[in-house]
Subunit: 263 residues, 2 copies
DNA sequence: GATCTTGTTCGGTATCACCAAACGGGGTTA
DNA sequence: TAACCCCGTTTGGTGATACCGAACAAGATC
């Protein structure tokens, strides 16, 4: 009899799950990687088990190793770069949008990003860094809260109220930055305003000191397939520049939408 | 008694290997993904096994599914985008080089790429698409032959002869394009010339109709950490433009090298 | 509305993933 | 230079489990 027989283990391949634990440990392992013992303790398994998993991943290019003997260290391999590139290309949206994103970055002088919807969350699949020395390095592929980001709110604003309720019921409205909207009615008002003016504003709602402005991208059927945004430090942005940049972002989003056959 | 007891299975986690087979099948599965049955036949396992693996990967975000019931299809998930971005960022080279790569693309009007060495192969970790309508879409993270690409030859040219022999012994000198160098002595001569003028030229050696020009990037210890290159269609490039662009690529490579503290 | 195709569920068994402990080789210190 | 220590690598045994075959169910197609 299992101690807690919840059905979380149904159709779960345990050893694969453990291997994923190893991979995620390596992702957080930093530049110079992790030793076998460090991996084993990080994921809570025996040294030899971790070793077998690492060897298997190594042979497939999912981890790389440097050094040998007692100084050997493991880090993520380039197979992830390959598959990651395929994933972000698979939608097709990325190929169309990236050139315009580069234009937008040049025009606004700010880092810009491209995101899609994934299970209610906003996920960036493209990025063009701006010229500024400030390097707000937003990783690709990480899930971001829809209600606390410009890119998320831009996408939410294209949906019906029932769909919005369904999403925020699963993600919740957790506070992230000083101004995060944690109230449903306030969020709905903000989304209505977003839809009217055509762009979403995140004023320190996700991260203190950071302002984002985003706009949605539609496909030929009129459904939202993603959004683009620009990011700036609050103290570098004049208050009256927000509307100006908002219109700019909206214009580029419309261009991409048109390219996709949308209207 | 195993039929063929070669030690290829030492420290191999079979179920993990199978899961990787599934992942690679999905990578080739195209935009709209694969059904469970298609996955099972592609990797040669039972439907239910494939199902368990897919469910496990699904819960961790490594695959995504659309549809339900008999129309359900699976494709790669965004966790790969996240990890892939971390891998390409982990070297640190990418953060430094990408802004210059964008400049280079603008200056040359051509698609440019950034690559590193991986087990003797050249692997692209960054790319900036040029304005041309031709979209030579070189995937990131895929291993490319060192002797048949500008980016690979640029890196080889920084090594000693013994190191070069060690690498081409493992990769071989297979023909890829009309002008692939398949002879060791010819390759060594080409590499010496590459070292002298500072840039490598791939004149239809990897792909027919495609010309690449690359130059190496060094770190502060003077060892080669990667290379950059530009790609063009042969019929669009004047013969005398090669030297001109070669100097340009060399200059940007030097700039990146200097940024890394190299000399 | 009948039928076919395909995703999902279930149970048994041979396989194998996991652990503990031993081995061996660099790195470090005295 | 030599002894110690630490850590990656190897091995063998066993209890858990990954895999398969077959049955079930739910849409799609005509």
């Amino acid at each position: 009899m299992t101690p807690n027989s919840d059905n979380a283990d149904k159709y779960r391949v345990k050893s694969l799950d453990h291997a994923i634990d190893v991979v995620e440990a390596l992702a957080d392992g930093g530049r110079d990687g992790l030793a076998v013992t460090e991996v084993a303790t990080a994921v809570g398994m025996s040294k030899s088990s971790a070793y077998s998993i690492l060897q298997t991943l190594l042979r497939r290019g999912f981890v790389a190793s440097q050094g040998s003997g007692p100084t050997r260290r493991y880090r993520l391999g380039l197979s992830f770069a390959y598959l990651g590139d395929r994933v972000t290309s698979q939608t097709g949206l990325r190929e169309v949008a990236m050139p315009y994103l580069e234009e937008l970055t040049r025009a606004a002088g700010l880092t810009s990003r491209l995101a899609i919807f994934d299970e209610g969350y906003a996920v960036a699949i493209g990025r063009v860094d701006g010229p500024g020395t400030i390097r707000i390095a937003p990783f690709l592929g990480r899930r971001e809260l829809p209600h606390a980001t410009a890119i998320g709110k831009a996408m939410l604003a294209t949906l019906g109220d029932d769909e919005i309720h369904r999403i925020i019921k699963s993600t919740g409205l957790p506070a992230r930055g000083p101004n995060t909207i944690v109230d449903v009615d306030t969020l709905l008002r903000d989304l209505r305003r977003t839809a009217e003016r055509g762009y979403a504003v995140d004023d320190e709602e996700d991260t203190a000191g950071v302002v984002c402005i985003g706009a949605s991208v539609l496909d030929r059927t009129g459904t939202c397939v993603g959004a683009i945004s620009v990011t700036a430090l609050k103290h570098e942005m004049r208050a009256d520049a927000v509307a100006e940049i908002g219109v700019l972002v909206r214009r580029y989003a419309d261009t991409i939408t048109a390219e996709l056959g949308g209207r």
